[in-house]
Symmetry: C2
Subunit: 319 residues, 2 copies
């Protein structure tokens, strides 16, 4: 029987970096990654799972470090031709990346659940970490905009990718919801792995739109609350800003200060320990005042070595 | 108001060659092509319309004369990666060709009918001929095999592309049917153009699986029967064999001799004139005994000039 020694809750780029560190200090086969699917979308009839793909490509050594998404050495023949046809080309799909979407979509249409398709893709890519979509059911992050944009007037609700890619997350947000969450069942192995894990790592992913959908799936938050002492989160906010993406904006717009203290406040009910960057050392007391242990360490994963060093801190940080 | 001066009933390669001749002798905007969609398929979640694409690529000057399908100068990055993933790669989709399928599928998913998507694709490709899918409704050619094959035991029914591509049409056939035909309505403009046409050309396409599905759509055969004198067919059978594909085998297996006389017998109720190749000149009498006028001419379109010469014969051949 597989014992999930370490379970990581994952969004995209930040989680992929954290995992690339964790696999250097823990046997990859002992790691289970529970991955957000709220960013998933249908485009051109294809099912696209950006976070699953970012994690897979990174662990397979295929990732493009320049973009933070897609495949290294990618070509763009299909997209260029699609642009010529006047097709939707705002969401860039490289040729090799497209093969993943064709494969996934074909398998899903044949009746396979996303978890089984993901297992097959990671097996083919030689990824030893077990990747679990948090749910096989439809779960879609929807964003209500607070400002006028190319998508429409204020108050309009758009898909996550409309907000994130099409609008480049430059528009203020009024609300976020996770469509399908009330009926989304946890995927096979998700709750079991969280129940068994020696340590649960919350990767430095966006608390609102990456970790939020994972928590929204029935049972996940409850298990984490029950095992809170084993849960270690890495703050995605460093010195009051997100290293990448709109986590800081979203937190502020939705009423939480965009600091490590704000992260601590959001996570306190189900996280025992928060790892914050040295740049935020002076906030450690305020973090602990929220009821979490606070560990200060370098958290910016600018190289695989720094990611591995952070992984060692995270594994040793548990209460 | 558009008057359809010339309407061509079309399958794939043979029809594309015929059209490439017709556009040299008739203003392309005066030509309407009514195209088979029985070969259409869903693969990897994408809607693929092989005959519409073959005709479009040929008229756009993008066709690959070596293969008879796909796009010239094609690359195969997506397919190679899909093979690495263990995906279904028996139906070869080139990178540029894939852009067409992504565009079509995206538009169909957004609620556009196939006819509107086809109009947009041909407009973008600079094709002046009006291409009409014979129907916007699902119509799928299904083939019952008479021999064991990689698809299963004798008696199994498979999709047209399973028969045509996967089994390379090397397996005997017991029956052909057009799934969806009873409820398939003619696409916008199909019956109107047939009713108005000065001449209807039946391209040298497979009578069973290319012209068959076109005839199976409600109203098409009735209009053609009523206007029989204006209908001119080019025999796809030359000297007892199909120039390309399984027309000869299929005709024989389904009980019609694979000769120009067999074609005449199949077409007699709704075709007034049959153009046969010089190689079949000695059968002209037998063709006329079936009740059609017979015109003998070189029908092998080995160059655009020969295709244009045949087009002149066809246009002049009407009863």
């Amino acid at each position: 029987m597989l014992v999930a020694v370490l379970v990581a809750l994952c969004g995209g780029v930040g989680a992929a970096r954290m995992l690339s560190g964790l696999v250097r200090v823990v046997p990859p086969a002992d790691i289970t990654a529970v991955v957000n699917v709220g960013d998933d979308m249908e485009l051109h009839g294809l099912h696209i799972s950006p976070d699953l793909d970012t994690v897979t490509y990174t662990l397979a050594g295929m990732d493009n470090p320049e973009t933070g998404w897609g495949v290294s050495g990618e070509t763009w023949t299909v997209m260029e031709e699609l642009s010529r046809l006047g097709g939707e080309d705002w969401f860039r799909l490289g040729d090799r990346d497209l093969a993943t979407h064709l494969f996934r979509t074909g398998q899903l249409r044949a009746g396979e659940p996303l978890s089984a398709v993901t297992a097959e893709i990671t097996r083919r890519r030689g990824v030893a970490v077990r990747l679990l979509p948090v749910t096989d059911d439809p779960l879609r992050t929807r964003v209500t905009l607070a400002e006028p944009s190319a998508c429409g007037p204020p108050g309009i609700e758009v898909s996550f990718q409309d907000y994130f890619v099409r609008l480049r997350h430059q528009v203020a947000v009024r609300a976020v919801r996770f469509e399908g969450a009330p009926s989304a069942r946890p995927g096979p192995g998700v709750l079991e792995s969280l129940e068994e894990a020696v340590t649960v790592v919350v990767c430095p992913s966006n608390p609102v739109v990456s970790i939020g959908p994972v928590l929204a799936v029935d049972g996940v938050r409850r298990v984490l609350e029950a095992r809170r002492a084993r849960v270690v989160a890495v703050s995605p906010i460093v010195a009051g800003a997100a290293l990448k993406g709109p986590a800081d904006r979203l937190m502020a717009e939705l009423g939480t200060e965009a600091t490590v203290v704000g992260v601590a406040r959001l996570y306190a009910p189900w996280v025992g320990t928060l790892v914050v960057d040295e740049a935020d050392a002076r906030h450690a007391g305020d973090v602990e005042a929220e009821g979490l242990r606070c560990v200060v360490a370098p958290t910016v994963m600018s190289s695989p070595e720094r990611a591995a060093a952070l992984a060692r801190v995270v594994i040793g940080a548990r209460a």
